[in-house]
C-alpha cells in the first residue's frame, strides 16, 4: 500500500475549495442533504474538517495501517461522526456515502494534476481509492458498534425496569424477582441492588424468589455471591420464598448457604427485618 505523493497532497490542499464544493454537490445530488435531521452547513463543516485531517494524516501516515497513531485524529473524527449519525437514526448507507462521495471529486483533481503522467496518475488513483475504502469501512464498523451499544444500553435499562428494587421501610429494601433468571439478568439486577443499598443506606435487603420457578447452578452462585457482597459492604441479606424445588437444587449442588437467613415468604422476611431494626408493629386504637 502506498503513501500519497507530495504533489497529490499539495494539489488537494491548494484545490480545497472546489474539491469541497464538488463533494457537497455530489452529496446533494445523492439526496444525502435532503434530510432535515442534518443541515447543509453542518455537513459542509464536517466535510472541510475531514478533508483537512485526511491531508494532514496522508502527509505522514501509511494508508495501510489505520491503527497507527497518525490516523488517530481521522479515526476519531469518523467514529464520532458515525456515532452521532447512529444516534440521530440514520442508516449505515448514509454514513458511508459521506466518505465514498469524495472519490469522484478527488479522481477528477488527480486527473488534472497528473494529466501528463499516466503512470503516477494510476498509482495515486489506486492509493486514494484504497485509503477512502479503508476509511469508509471503518466508518461502517464504527456505526454498527454505536448501534449495538445503544441496543445493549436499552436492554439493560429494560432489565432494571423489570426488576425494581423496592423500599419496604427505612433501611429495608426488597428485590422481588419474577420469572426465569438467566446469568446476565441476575448479574445486572444484583448490581443495581448493591447500588441501591449504598444510595439509601439500607442495612437489610430481602431477595424474594417466590416468583422464580427454577434456579440453575450459575444463578444460584450469583445469588450467593450477591449475598456475600452485601455482607462485605456492611449490610445483611434475607432470602425469602425458596420453593421446595429450588431448595433441592441448592442441596443437590452442594451449595453452602453458610449463615444466610432464609424465610418462607416476603412477609416473614419483613417481620424479621423490622425486628432486627428494633421496630415493632403495634395495633392502633
Amino acid at each position: 500500500m502506498s503513501i500519497l505523493q507530495q504533489t497529490t497532497i499539495d494539489a488537494i490542499r491548494n484545490g480545497e475549495a472546489p474539491l469541497l464544493a464538488s463533494w457537497i454537490s455530489n452529496l446533494e445530488q445523492g439526496g444525502a442533504l435532503r434530510d432535515s435531521r442534518i443541515s447543509k452547513e453542518e455537513v459542509s463543516v464536517q466535510a472541510k474538517d475531514f478533508l483537512r485531517l485526511l491531508v494532514a494524516a496522508s502527509a505522514t501516515g501509511d494508508a495501510a495501517d489505520l491503527a497507527k497513531s497518525e490516523w488517530a485524529d481521522s479515526r476519531q473524527f469518523l467514529e464520532s461522526l458515525s456515532r452521532s449519525r447512529a444516534l440521530q437514526g440514520f442508516d449505515s448507507h448514509h454514513t458511508a456515502y459521506f466518505i465514498f462521495s469524495l472519490k469522484r471529486p478527488l479522481f477528477d483533481l488527480l486527473r488534472s494534476t497528473y494529466e501528463h503522467d499516466p503512470q503516477v496518475l494510476t498509482s495515486e488513483l489506486w492509493a486514494i481509492s484504497e485509503l477512502l475504502d479503508t476509511l469508509g469501512m471503518h466508518t461502517i464498523r464504527a456505526f454498527q458498534k454505536s448501534r449495538e451499544d445503544v441496543i445493549m444500553r436499552q436492554q439493560e435499562e429494560l432489565l432494571e425496569l423489570s426488576t425494581p428494587v423496592v423500599k419496604l421501610w427505612d433501611g429495608v429494601l426488597a428485590l422481588p424477582m419474577i420469572g426465569t433468571l438467566d446469568s446476565q439478568r441476575t448479574q445486572v439486577v444484583m448490581e443495581s441492588l448493591l447500588q441501591r443499598i449504598v444510595e439509601t443506606g439500607s442495612e437489610i435487603a430481602i431477595i424474594d424468589i417466590t416468583g422464580v420457578p427454577t434456579v440453575d447452578t450459575l444463578v444460584a452462585q450469583h445469588l450467593l455471591k450477591t449475598v456475600t457482597a452485601i455482607r462485605l459492604m456492611g449490610a445483611d441479606c434475607i432470602i425469602s420464598g425458596i420453593r421446595p424445588q429450588i431448595a433441592q437444587t441448592i442441596v443437590h449442588l452442594g451449595l453452602d448457604l453458610g449463615g444466610i437467613v432464609t424465610k418462607a415468604n416476603l412477609a416473614d422476611a419483613l417481620a424479621l427485618a423490622l425486628k432486627r431494626s428494633g421496630l415493632s408493629v403495634v395495633k392502633a386504637g
Binding site: 491503527a67 497513531s69 488517530a72 485524529d73 479515526r75 476519531q76 458498534k145 451499544d149 448479574q187 448490581e191
Partner: protein, 134 residues
C-alpha cells in the same frame, strides 16, 4: 481520550503500578466495559503489575484494544525477565487471603478476567496475558 489502540507501559516501581492501573481504567472505560468489569480488570492489573515489580524485578505491560465481531476487549501482557515461577501449579492454587505466604494472587487474578495465560519457567522470566471483554 486515548486514541491509540495499543501501547506499552513500563512497570519498574510502585508509581508505575499506580500509573498502569489508571491507564487501564481509562482504556476500559473508553471501550465500554461496565463498572464492575472495569473494577475487576484494574484489580487484576494491580496484582499482576505488583508481582512484576516485586517478584519479576521490574517488567513491562503491553496493552491493546481488540475486536471480536460485536465485542471489544482489552488485552494486557505482563512480562518480566525475573527469576520465573518455579512451581506454576502451586502458584495457581495459592489462596488469595491477606497475609498469604506467596501472595502472588494469580489464582484470584485469573478469576477476575475472561482469558488468562501464564508462561514462566525458572531463569526464563514470566509472561502473563489477560483479556477482559466488554
Amino acid at each position: 481520550m486515548i486514541t491509540d489502540k495499543s501501547g506499552t507501559c513500563p512497570i519498574r516501581s510502585e508509581q508505575d503500578v499506580v500509573l498502569s492501573r489508571q491507564l487501564v481504567r481509562r482504556i476500559a472505560q473508553q471501550h465500554g466495559l461496565r463498572l464492575v468489569d472495569q473494577t475487576k480488570l484494574v484489580t487484576a492489573v494491580s496484582e499482576l503489575a505488583r508481582n512484576a515489580v516485586i517478584y519479576g524485578k521490574g517488567g513491562d505491560m503491553d496493552w491493546s484494544v481488540i475486536d471480536s465481531g460485536a465485542r471489544t476487549g482489552v488485552r494486557l501482557v505482563f512480562r518480566d525477565n525475573g527469576p520465573g515461577i518455579p512451581d506454576i501449579k502451586q502458584a495457581m492454587t495459592d489462596g488469595w487471603t491477606s497475609g498469604s505466604g506467596l501472595g502472588l494472587g494469580l489464582a484470584g487474578a485469573k478469576r477476575l478476567v475472561d482469558e488468562f495465560e501464564l508462561q514462566s519457567a525458572p531463569g526464563e522470566g514470566t509472561r502473563i496475558t489477560i483479556i477482559k471483554w466488554n
